[in-house]
Symmetry: C2
Subunit: 656 residues, 2 copies
């Protein structure tokens, strides 16, 4: 019979949900989804609620109990273990037996005759017993016998309560009207260390164009520093027409290699390799070799073409043509980007265009690439990304897309909702204590936490930020520690970063003589480089699970405005990391930082051991306030691992 | 051809929406709906957006333009004029012509050759001209001719911009994926003055049971006070079994009339009239006579039965039966309400039950009742109300339901979402300045504004609040002014209120010798009554449109913690009311109140006339800070009408 009218529980305000369920929540395997909702019923009966969740391919729900928090709010959680799509919703019902138990106490306390009440309770037990079998059924019937014969005390037996919950009648339960989706991705979606390099600058011999083979030779060095993703700018043939010269000049000399983002020449387009870099076999060999070091190769996807790209002739309808018969190049009036043609996504032939661009991704997946950094996704339609990423991930859930959008916040968030695994951020321009607190709070404690995975970049070929241009070596160290410990995903553009190259264009956050327009021959071990510190920090990240998520960050107070202090604690609370960074790159700073020892389970009146991991020094701290001094010359940042004595009689456990 | 892939604009975060559109937004005829949304597109093109709205019965959308606010947020509004259901959504598109205009300025400023650009613009105009006819088409073609021939200046012509907007190509426009509903109700849903009375106490002769005829005789008095809704507690036959005596005692004497909420006897149930009140014809005559005074009669709907109600025998399955064969009466253990049986909404026969209860409403609608005050709706399933009210309003959109729920906030809000027109509130227990500010802000500036229409009650037969019990006559005046000026819907339970009856039960917020359990013979003109003030306030409410909505309230600062000051301004800003209430009922208070004269359009350096409407005194105020003194003995509250000089040469307009 239709139960609809008997469903007395209502469920609303179910979180997390992205745009009312239009987009999935994001997690990686092993992560928890904390679910909250307002759940209540008419009247005064006790209610119960649980999360229903399942892999989208399964037909049966798993359940996870919810508990009452306050003001009709309930919460609970479940853990996602499998890559792919998962669904969840909430079920709530009136818990008549618990209601009966609570009322019975009040009646007994008021000295009322409860003989009829006991019969009512016994009947309830008998009814649930019909859903049970074997021992459980016997136990239930035994309970009801006792209660019916006047034994009120047994009504509150824990086992009885447990069994009545287990065999509760949920026929009139309410299931929330929507199922929300969770996209579960592999662990690297949340924990990754990116290194961007131009293969054409990888040659050890000045005067020779770098190749994939040259990149292979760099693998031990990059692996030693601790990176696990190497991202290559576009590796495709570069156009000749309107090629840019050094420093983005409109006149290219015959030796100028052009910008790799001016994709396509008579030698091919997005599915071809620039001949001077090597062959497809060389590329696949690089992927294999990198894999031996635990490193993945990420490619750049830039949906744009040089005027020489084969698409221009094969599909003129994918470009804009001007009344004078010329093709429209990229512009941001009055600025012109003559070496690049934007693709006209408003073309009536958009279906074929979308299919072709998908085929580019599938081509590189076929050749072993599983990570794509997408160039300027915010200048292509959101609907395209939504379709593309969903379609690709259906067959290849392991594929990771990083959105390189530096634009307005709602645009960046919408790209993440559309499916991008990771996103560039405003980290590069956050410098003060308040800025970091506010920004990280927005990213980790508000709605964005559910769908936006930050990837903190210190620099890119396009961006040499003010802090690095003027902050000296201390800035390179501090900004690295910040990126790699604030966010579990981060990246640097090297070797400019590790050799502290800060030669910019005055009043612009750009590199002078940018590698985008010329081949460089770097001294990768230039004196003053910070490779050792990078290596240490990456080891620390690998050894401390607290640093393997972005979302557990908490800021701790300090009495010095330049000392930024924050903590990260693993879910099981066994791993505690506290980072202090001197945000003043020019002067030594000291002050006391306030550790929430009570919350961390450290006794108030006991000293505790801390291990500063960058210097490998051990210190004793006492209470919540502790002194820290950071000198930009010698130690611009500290990473403390905190040991707590679990039991007074235990030794410190250095390896917990 | 399928346009989906060419839709570049995205729309999200559309407000107002209630539970992602599961419930309608509420308005009365003539009210505005302000709509906001995040609207943006990929890239840097200029976009445009508009609201689409229509009566649910119409097939064609009307449009209302939206404008860019900030940070990708857009807003706009539309006005609802017709009772019933209305739908709205949002449409956005890339505005290529405006983009072209903006770029053209930049190109010209940079000294670029724009001859090809002018051809592009002219082509756009020609394309839109195809959508135009007659003069408009001619004008457009004339513009394109000029532009094509090199006249760049005409590209920015206002008429051209207007026509290009009018005939814009919206073929690739995005329409937001959901349509949200607005329930439009009649004006009284928002602006009403309720008076609750027990007809059985309306007799002028002590010793005689009051009748509908007696209520008729009270109409001139109640109308003179300015009320437009008279709400009667249940008028049905009252049960005998377990009838309650005076002061809710379990022993009723033979003279005790019982609680009207113990509905049903052998004389009938929810569709019958208690014989001592009169006949159905008397009742209909009362409705007619009240109508002559502009007053509507509201009935009480209490879904519960006395043990003698005919339903108990006809539908035993609608009640709970105990194992000893007795029927379950209402309880909140250990409290017992033996004269009332709750209806068992969990009955398997719920469909028949729902239909029967609906038939009760329809029965009274047939007999002329259009307003129902629903007793304790929070103890009946939300789904029942949702179904019932939607069903009734489909045929009778003019019917008003007031939810008498004093319970947890989310429960009260959910009932409003389920369809209740008006709701009781926590006003009765709000006493301090901070409490009023916080509560009114919650009700008028947050989500609740869209679906919850407060009705502020000073007292009810169940509630004699502390403030009235101990605050003396000043409290009765102040609380009345507060209810009637904070909220456009308010109610009092009389004549206890206007004769300042404050005889309560100590330590309980209840009346001693409550009218719920006995027939009273009131001296309706008892000395010290506040009928004159009630009359004045109701006239002020009728003459000042600023007081005819709750949602325009703004609190103004005062330097005295007991002086609560707030303003209400009509939508066209022509009517400005400022209320100051002394929240200290025992001592005179004075201080300065801060009027936001700049916002109200009053010049800083000019004095302005204010008219204190309760005392009919005129004052001159200067600047924003003005002195106010309120004496609980003589003037516990002031209602100022503020006159602003529109033009320096004008006289004061006393009647604007």
């Amino acid at each position: 019979m239709d139960q609809e009218g008997r469903q007395r529980v209502v469920i609303e305000n179910v979180k997390p949900n992205i745009n009312c369920g239009a987009y999935p929540v994001k997690r990686v395997t092993g992560e928890k989804v904390v679910v909250t909702a307002d759940v209540f019923a008419d009247g005064h009966d006790t209610i119960a609620a649980e999360i229903l969740y399942r892999n989208s391919k399964d037909n049966t729900w798993k359940t996870s109990p919810m508990k009452f928090v306050d003001n009709d709010l309930w919460d609970g959680s479940f853990r996602v273990e499998e890559e792919g799509s998962c669904l969840f919703t909430i079920r709530g019902w009136v818990d008549h037996f618990t209601t009966w138990q609570k009322d019975l106490v009040k009646r007994i306390d008021a000295g009322q005759d409860v003989s009829v009440e006991l019969m009512i309770g016994a009947d309830m037990i008998d009814k649930n017993a019909k859903n049970a079998n074997g021992d459980d059924q016997k136990k239930l019937l035994n309970f009801s016998d006792k209660i019916r014969s006047g034994n009120a005390g047994v009504a509150f037996d824990d086992e009885l309560s447990l069994l009545m919950g287990l065999y509760a009648d949920k026929s009139a339960a309410t299931v929330f009207q929507q199922e929300y989706e969770v996209w579960v991705e592999r662990h690297r979606a949340l924990f990754s260390s990116w290194y961007e390099l131009f293969p054409r600058s990888a040659s050890p011999n000045p005067g020779r164009h770098g190749t994939f083979k040259d990149v292979e030779r760099l693998l031990p060095d990059i692996s030693e520093m601790g990176f696990d993703v190497i991202y290559l700018p576009p590796i495709h043939p570069i156009g000749i027409t309107n090629r840019k010269g050094k420093n983005n000049s409109t006149e290219a000399g015959p030796e100028d290699p052009g910008s790799p983002w001016a994709i396509g020449s008579k030698e091919g387009g997005h599915k071809s390799i620039h001949p001077e870099l090597g062959s497809m076999d060389d590329f696949k060999e690089l992927i294999r070799k990198a894999g031996d070091f635990g490193i993945e190769i990420a490619l750049d996807i830039a949906c744009q073409c040089s005027p020489d790209h084969p698409y221009v002739k094969e599909h003129p309808e994918w470009f804009k043509w001007r009344p004078d018969g010329t093709v429209q190049y990229a512009e941001n009036p009055p600025k012109k980007y003559q070496d690049v043609l934007p693709i006209n996504f408003e073309t009536e032939n958009w279906k074929k265009l979308w299919d072709e661009l998908r085929s580019v991704i599938l081509f590189w997946i076929d050749n072993g690439v599983k990570i794509f950094r997408v160039d300027n996704p915010h200048t292509k339609p959101f609907g395209f990304w939504e379709w593309l990423i969903k379609d690709i991930k259906k067959e290849y859930p392991e594929v990771i897309f990083l959105a390189e959008a530096f634009t307005r916040p709602k645009v960046m968030y919408r790209l993440a909702k559309a499916g991008f695994t990771q996103s560039y951020t405003y980290f590069t321009w956050r410098n003060t204590k308040d800025e970091f607190k506010e920004y990280l709070t927005e990213l980790t404690k508000r709605d964005a936490r559910e769908f936006y995975r930050p990837n903190f970049w210190t620099n890119t070929p396009d961006i040499l930020p003010e802090n690095l241009q003027y902050g000296g070596r201390a800035a390179f160290i501090s900004r690295f520690v910040l990126a790699a410990t604030l966010s579990s995903n981060y990246g640097i553009y090297g070797p400019s970063y590790e050799i502290c190259n800060n030669t910019g264009i005055e009043d612009k956050e750009e590199y002078l003589n940018s590698e985008k327009y010329e081949i460089k021959h770097w001294d990768r071990n230039k004196s003053g480089n910070i490779k050792d510190i990078i290596k240490k920090v990456n080891i620390i990240r690998k050894e401390n699970s607290a640093l393997q998520t972005t979302f557990n960050i908490e800021f701790y107070d300090s009495d010095n405005r330049y000392l930024l202090c924050y903590g990260k604690v693993s879910e099981d609370k066994s791993n505690i990391i506290v980072v202090v960074v001197n945000l003043n790159f020019f002067h030594k700073q000291s002050g006391s930082v306030k550790i929430p020892i009570k919350k961390l389970g450290i006794p108030e009146k006991q000293s505790y051991l801390v291990h500063e991991l960058l210097s490998d020094k051990r210190l004793m701290w006492q209470g919540s306030e502790n002194f820290v001094e950071l000198d930009p010359e010698t130690s611009p940042a500290s990473i403390f691992k905190i040991y707590k004595r679990l039991k007074r009689e235990d030794d410190f456990d250095y390896f917990m």
